[in-house]
C-alpha cells in the first residue's frame, strides 16, 4: 500500500484538503460571458452578411440582454476577488501570457460595443425613443456609418471572448482536467450554442427559429464530438490526465455530467430540434431551455471537477 499524506496539518483555507478557490462566481461568469459572446457573434455575423431582415431577433432584439449578462458576469467576477480594492490593477497592465488579463481587456472591448449595439437598436424596443442631446445623434450617425467595421470588431472579439472562457481553464497545467486545448473551442461552441438557444427563445419568427435550430443542431454535434475527443485525449495521455478523466468515467462527476449535461443538455435537445425540423409537434421552448441549462451546468461541473484533479497526493 502506498500512503502519501501531509502530516504537518497544512489546512490552508480554499487549498486543503482539496483546491476550491473558485466557487459559483467563475462558472457563472464563464456561462454568461459565453452566452453573450454567442449572441453578439450572431448579431455581428448577420449584420456583415446583410441578413438583418431575415434575423431580426438575432441582430436587433437578443443583443439587448448582452450588456446585462456581461455586467452580471463581471459583478460575479468582482465578488470572487479576494483583494477587491485593487481590482483596477487589471487595467494598468497588459499581460499577454495571462488569459485572465486577456479576458479583462476583451471585456473592455465587447462590453461597450454591446451597449452601443443596444443604443443603435433602441427603437426596436422603444419605438418612440428620442436622444436628448445632439451629440448623441452624432454618435448614433457615426456608429451607423461604421456599422460594418464595428461588426467585424465585434465578430472577432466575441469569438475571442467565447474562446477565452475555455482557455482561462486550459492554461492551467496544474489541473490536468482543464489542461486540454480542446476546452477553448469546446467552450466557444457551447457559448455559440447557448447563444443560438437564447435567440430561439426570444424569436417570434418561426423561420428564424428553425434557422437557429439548424445551427444549434450543428453546434451541438460539434460539441459532442469535441467532448468525446477531449476524453480520448485524456485517456491517451499521462496518468494524471487518465485520473482526471476518471472523475467523469466512474468518478463522482459521472452521473451529473453524462446524464444532465451530455444527455439532457445536448443529445436530448438536439433530438427535439431534429423532430421539430421534421415537422413534429414539439413545444419549441423545451430544447433551448435544456441547452441553456446544460451549458450552465457544464461550466459548473468543469470548474469544480477541474479543482479536484491534481498532480500530487
Amino acid at each position: 500500500m502506498r500512503e502519501e499524506i501531509i502530516t504537518s496539518g497544512r489546512m490552508n483555507p480554499m487549498i486543503d484538503p482539496q483546491l476550491h478557490i473558485w466557487h459559483w462566481h467563475i462558472p457563472l461568469y464563464l456561462f454568461l460571458g459565453g452566452l453573450a459572446a454567442g449572441i453578439l457573434f450572431f448579431a455581428a455575423l448577420y449584420t456583415i452578411l446583410g441578413k438583418e431582415k431575415e434575423n431580426p431577433t438575432a441582430v436587433k432584439i437578443a443583443p439587448f440582454i448582452t450588456p446585462i449578462l456581461l455586467v452580471v458576469g463581471l459583478f460575479a467576477l468582482f465578488l470572487d476577488l479576494n483583494h477587491q480594492a485593487y481590482f483596477w490593477r487589471l487595467y494598468t497592465t497588459i499581460r499577454l501570457e495571462s488569459p485572465m488579463s486577456w479576458g479583462a481587456w476583451t471585456l473592455m472591448v465587447v462590453t461597450p460595443i454591446s451597449f452601443i449595439w443596444c443604443a443603435l437598436n433602441i427603437k426596436e424596443i422603444f419605438p418612440r425613443w428620442e436622444w436628448k442631446f445632439k451629440f448623441l445623434y452624432d454618435l448614433d450617425a457615426f456608429f451607423r456609418k461604421h456599422l460594418i467595421t464595428m461588426s467585424w470588431i465585434l465578430l472577432i472579439f466575441s469569438l475571442i471572448l467565447g474562446m477565452y472562457t475555455g482557455i482561462l481553464f486550459s492554461a492551467f497545467n496544474a489541473r490536468p482536467l482543464w489542461n486540454t486545448s480542446i476546452l477553448g473551442p469546446l467552450f466557444l461552441t457551447s457559448g455559440l450554442s447557448t447563444g443560438a438557444a437564447a435567440i430561439i427563445l426570444m424569436s417570434k419568427s418561426h423561420e428564424e427559429r428553425l434557422r437557429f435550430a439548424r445551427i444549434d443542431i450543428m453546434l451541438i454535434g460539434i460539441e459532442m464530438f469535441l467532448i468525446v475527443h477531449m476524453f480520448m485525449g485524456f485517456l491517451a495521455s499521462t496518468q494524471v490526465h487518465i485520473e482526471a478523466a476518471g472523475l467523469f468515467l466512474g468518478g463522482p462527476y459521472t452521473t451529473p455530467f453524462w446524464l444532465f449535461v451530455f444527455t439532457l443538455g445536448l443529445a436530448f435537445p438536439a433530438i427535439l430540434e431534429v423532430l421539430e425540423l421534421r415537422k413534429f409537434k414539439v413545444p419549441y421552448m423545451i430544447a433551448p431551455m435544456l441547452v441553456l441549462m446544460g451549458g450552465l451546468l457544464f461550466r459548473f461541473i468543469i470548474a469544480y471537477a477541474g479543482q479536484a484533479s491534481r498532480w500530487l497526493y
Binding site: I5, I6, S98, F172, R310, L312
Partner: protein
C-alpha cells in the same frame, strides 16, 4: 544568481519545525502555512520505506503562477525567487489554481501569500531562510546555484536528488535529496 533549496529526505524526521518557524518569522496567521511536511510510505509490512519531505513554493524557473497573473503581482525577483506584490494582487486566485504544488493560498487580508525564501527579511541580510536556520536535523541546504561553493551547490554535487513533478515543466528550485 539562482537561489535554490535542497531538503535531505534521509535526514528529515518530519518534525514540522520549519513550518512553525516560518509562521513566527513571517507572521503567517494561525491556520495558514507556507511550508508543510509530506510523508510517503511505500511497501507492505515489514518491507517498508518512508520518504519525508519539507515542501514549499518551488520558486520555479518557468513559473505558471507568474505566467497566469493578470496584473504582474506575481513576479520573478532577485535570484529567481517568485514573489507576490501584495498591493498589485487582486486576489483572483488564478495563480493558486495554476500551481501544481498547491503552494499558494489566499491570505486572510485578501492577497495571495506563499513562501518567499525569506528573501527580504533574512536572505538579503546574509542569513538562511527561517526554515533552514531552525531545522534540528540540519536537513535543509540553501544558496545560489550559480555559486559552486554554496551549500546547495555542494550538496547537489555529492548526492542523488529529484524535484517534484518535473513533468509539469516548471523547472523547480526545490530539490529533494534521495
Amino acid at each position: 544568481m539562482r537561489y535554490a533549496m535542497a531538503v535531505d529526505t534521509k535526514k528529515c524526521v518530519g518534525c514540522s519545525d520549519c513550518v512553525v518557524a516560518c509562521q513566527t518569522e513571517n507572521n503567517v496567521p494561525i491556520g495558514y502555512c507556507r511550508d508543510w511536511i509530506v510523508e510517503v510510505t511505500d511497501g507492505t509490512y515489514p518491507q517498508l520505506e518512508i520518504e519525508i519531505r519539507s515542501e514549499r513554493c518551488n520558486h520555479c524557473e518557468n513559473a505558471p503562477c507568474v505566467r497566469c497573473c493578470p496584473t504582474g503581482a506575481s513576479h520573478y525577483s532577485d535570484g529567481g525567487t517568485v514573489l507576490v506584490k501584495k498591493y498589485h494582487c487582486i486576489g483572483c486566485g488564478a495563480c493558486i489554481a495554476s500551481c501544481p504544488y498547491d503552494a499558494r493560498f489566499p491570505h486572510p487580508d485578501g492577497y495571495v501569500d506563499k513562501c518567499t525564501f525569506c528573501l527580504d527579511n533574512r536572505v538579503k541580510k546574509g542569513m538562511d531562510p527561517a526554515c533552514v536556520s531552525v531545522c534540528p536535523t540540519k536537513c535543509m541546504y540553501f544558496g545560489d546555484l550559480d555559486d559552486p561553493r554554496s551549500p546547495v551547490s555542494q550538496i547537489l554535487k555529492k548526492r542523488k536528488y529529484k524535484t517534484l513533478i518535473p513533468e509539469a515543466g516548471t523547472k523547480p528550485h526545490l530539490y529533494f535529496l534521495i
